[in-house]
Symmetry: C2
Subunit: 225 residues, 2 copies
């Protein structure tokens, strides 16, 4: 699909990492204009270039430093290692007014990725909201999606739990989940992001215990029709 000018422009902050690059790939394929953000303008540009080459019919990915990427976009997706989470949020805060932050960050413990430990704020996404301020709209999603899957064009056997500060923030995030070829579920207020972030540790444990690399979850007993 080629670029659709009516769709929001998405900045993927941390878009040079595997998860961010995979999401950027899927949204570019779906016709979104995607801006890869990185602390390094060169790395951002190189990743955008890489994506352009992967995308059969063109696509419109570009690369910029984080703050510039956030400024140029209407939705900002954050896919960074937890260690960099606060610092990067503070650096893009001036550009966030009136924009949805979609946080995909998982607060894994160094050396203990199978053990849930949430930040004092309750979750990484709640911490993000504290940094951006009371009036900000924040959603959280994509924590449990393995980046391996994103570059394959096969259907992914894993649902996405979407939490957020308002029903509208969740609806906006759910549209991006669908655009990425995934099935998402409105999973309630941002406080519930501790569950979707923590599920990542549970799934890493299940991967180790049952000898797989692709444990995921599906919601059962509910329909979206």
């Amino acid at each position: 699909m080629s670029l659709d000018a009516d769709l929001p422009v998405i900045a993927v902050i941390g878009g040079t990492g595997k998860e961010g690059k995979g999401l950027a790939y899927r949204w570019s394929q779906a016709g979104y204009r995607v801006i890869i953000g990185s602390r390094s303008a060169e790395k951002a540009a190189a990743t955008a270039e890489e994506l352009q080459q992967l995308l059969a019919s063109g696509g419109a990915a570009s690369g910029m430093p984080n703050l510039e990427a956030a400024t140029m976009s209407t939705v900002v997706v954050l896919t960074v290692p937890y260690e960099a989470h606060s610092e990067i949020l503070k650096s893009i805060r001036p550009a966030m007014h009136g924009k949805l932050l979609l946080d995909a960050t998982v607060p894994l413990q160094a050396g203990k990725p199978t053990r849930v430990l949430m930040p004092a704020a309750g979750s990484a996404a709640q911490e993000a909201r504290r940094i951006l301020g009371e009036g900000s709209e924040v959603a959280a999603a994509f924590h449990t999606i393995s980046h391996d899957h994103l570059f394959k064009n096969d259907p992914i056997d894993c649902d996405v739990l979407v939490t957020g500060t308002s029903s509208e923030a969740r609806a906006q995030a759910l549209r991006l989940v669908t655009a990425a070829g995934l099935r998402g579920w409105d999973s309630g207020p941002l406080e519930n992001s501790s569950v979707s972030e923590g599920l990542t540790s549970v799934l890493i444990h299940i991967n180790k215990k049952y000898g797989t690399r692709h444990a995921g979850i599906r919601i059962t007993g509910a329909d979206q029709d």
Copy 2:
């Protein structure tokens, strides 16, 4: 199936409630001796009587006050409203030495069941462990299973995430999950119980949002063979 004397004796504390009664029903069917515990000896006896009548081939359910039920058992399952959790745990503590506590309690907020809020200890199960002491073995499971399902003999389309203080505690809990006709997953250390307890709020939200009563989860991408 009739009573199997080699199986552990299970006390279900809070066994007069719907969830506890449903689990007691399933374990009785599987040949376990089950003791219903309640603050009221009369209520415990009445529930045991009710179960006896439901069980086609007899089964061995009896009813006793909580402390007595815990004393007479080898595994203690806790299915109580969160408001009663600490107090009941303190009351059965003298009987818990060397026994597994399997905590099914969900710390739902009064009036806000769709919003995750964990106790200061991190989760109800971690709070239970604080009360029982450092050396105690605690597992957590069954949070997301709707009691409606337990009395039906149909397969249940919902997996059970099992967390616990040790691999052995989780294995023992997993055997009881299987005996109840459910599929369980070793989901890691007891800290991860915040995820399985919190998932209950997420599923209640999904029930409301998508107009169902039976949302559940399945683990995908992993096998148990």
